[in-house]
Amino acid sequence: MLNTIAYGLTIGGILYIISIGLSLTFGTMRIVNFAHGFIYTIGAYLLITTLPILRENFILAALATVLAVIPISYVIERFIIRKLYGVSIDYAIIATYAVVLIGVDLIKWIWGASPIPLSDPIGIDVTIFSVTIPLYRLIIIILSFVIFIALTIFFRKTMVGKIVVAALEDKDAVRSLGINVDKYFAYVFIIGSCLAALGGVLYAPITSVHPYMGMTVLLISFAVVLVGGLGNIKGTFVSAFVLGLIMAITGRFWGPAAETMVFIVMGIILIFKPIEA
């Protein structure tokens, strides 16, 4: 059982890293960004490409991937997302889904459609409190906590972060102070995309890499965002770990039901607390 909890914490950590970007775009721009799943997938694929170039150095490859995602996400923001401000939310869903269709086809074109396996980059197990887990998973959990703390400091202390938090509350008021809100939203979008790519990089060695891997993860991330509250930085953190644990515990008893359970929980929560979006 302790093992299952440790596994759930790993999933929760990765879910947090992926969902925080989604939550911020959802909260600030009111855009349901399906392209986030594509960024996650491209992160995993870029890792596969950069690993042999950088002589199998995982940390360097991960860094290169995250940096490589910046221009990609800038292009998506500049040409798709920015044109969707204030447009009906339906069109935003459809337009970002179109980005996913194009992106997935591009991935199939470049890397092929068959799944690519990746091995654990560390391959050492550690034992804590009589639980043996791979060191890699432990690092993921620690990394997600570090990112949470870093983001909290970012939103409390830096100017960009403060503006974004204020814009989450009341966009028009911030704009009337003469601040170009859209520019800061673009920063948030790029940070969120980089984190999504990092999530893809971290998750790639645990699962197999295939063009459609982003879709399921994206749906679960939506569940995390809706359960945690739109644009709620702390809520997303808590709900990611809760849903990760739910997935792991359900998966222990009945494997195929793990993902469905997340949606059932989300449905129940939305029945009692509908979100006006």
């Binding site: 009111r30 939310i89 339906d90 069109y91 269709l101 195929p256 469905t260 949606f263 939305l270 509908p274």
Partner: protein
């Protein structure tokens, strides 16, 4: 907006007989156009197109007229598809009873899920539907695989009743066309009634409709149930046509097909739904064999529709037509 209202009133002023005559003309046009494309596409594909058009009509009622985008409408199609198969397998091989059962099942799922999803709007509505679709997909694929056949799916056989031998392609074609006309006629009647005006008003501004004293929840629920029932009907008809059911009939990743069809035709009009259904099916049927990167093409086409061409084909034709008549009036 104001001018449109007046135009609508003028058209409605012809009285009941004029309206019925107009919808009969519509039905004749639809029948004629499907017979016209019949030699082009062949009978199998045309039947497919017709069934898909029924599905688009059901989706369009919810999205185009009431403004609720469901990202999990495959669930309702799948419910119909699985109900008719399981009904034929275990209860009766009479195709008509099975069809009625699947329409009832579609309506029932709308009645059950409706109160939960219909309270939400926008993204939340889309994603809850998607979540339910995911649950349904899981049930069909894994949890209930003893009855649904899991990943392999299962075949359905139907008895011959009078002249209705659904093994014959021409019979299925005729029956599906009749079903499409019936659906169109019912929707046309519904949408020109006060109910139709009310759901269009809900799309425009729900708060004001509430202020007028209408119980919007009930109307939204009814609309949702009608939409799910029509989608189930379409699902059941496609099983009648194909003869077997697979989890792809309830796969949430295919939900985008019907959205695209509605958008390309023009959301919020019955003709738009029909044109969109045929156009999408033609693209996905033929393009896939000519272009290996057809998903990418679909993505770019969707972007163009969203950014430049929001009214769809039918909206474009209508705009051109009104401009021409205005010019002629001058």
């Amino acid at each position: 907006m104001n001018r449109k209202w007046r135009q609508g009133n003028l058209k409605g002023g012809n009285g009941l007989i004029g309206q019925t005559r107009k919808s009969l003309l519509d039905l004749a046009i639809i029948t004629a156009s499907f017979f016209a494309v019949l030699p082009l596409f062949g009978i199998n594909r045309t039947t497919d197109f017709i069934i898909f058009c029924i599905y688009v009509l059901g989706f369009n009622l919810l999205y185009g007229y009431m403004g609720r985008l469901s990202f999990g409408h495959m669930l309702y199609l799948g419910v119909g598809a699985y109900t008719i198969t399981i009904f034929a397998e275990h209860i009766s091989k009479n195709p008509f009873f099975a069809l009625i059962a699947s329409i009832c099942a579609g309506a029932l799922i709308g009645v059950i899920i409706g109160p939960i999803v219909i309270r939400t709007t926008g993204a939340c509505f889309a994603l809850i539907n998607l979540a339910f679709n995911q649950v349904g997909y899981f049930l069909a694929l894994v949890a209930l695989s003893r009855w649904t056949g899991g990943e392999d799916g299962m075949s359905a056989y139907f008895n011959k009743i009078f002249l209705f031998d659904f093994g014959k392609k021409s019979v299925i074609f005729g029956f599906c066309l009749f079903s499409l006309l019936l659906t169109y006629f019912i929707l046309k009647k519904l949408l020109s009634s006060p109910y139709g005006i009310l759901i269009k008003s809900i799309k425009e501004n729900e708060v004001r409709v509430k202020f007028l004293g209408y119980d919007t929840f009930r109307y939204k629920w009814i609309t949702f149930v009608i939409s799910t029932a029509i989608s189930s009907f379409a699902g059941a008809l496609s099983i009648l046509n194909y003869g077997y059911v697979t989890p792809s009939f309830i796969d949430p990743t295919r939900a985008v097909e019907v959205i695209f069809a509605t958008l390309i035709g023009g959301a919020g009009s019955l003709y738009g739904a029909l044109i969109g259904g045929v156009a999408y099916m033609a693209i996905s049927n033929y393009l896939a064999s000519y272009l290996s990167r057809w998903e990418m093409f679909l993505g770019f086409a969707l972007l163009i529709v969203v950014f430049r061409f929001r009214k769809g084909i039918w909206g474009y034709i209508q705009d051109r037509f009104t401009k021409q008549t205005e010019r002629m009036m001058r």
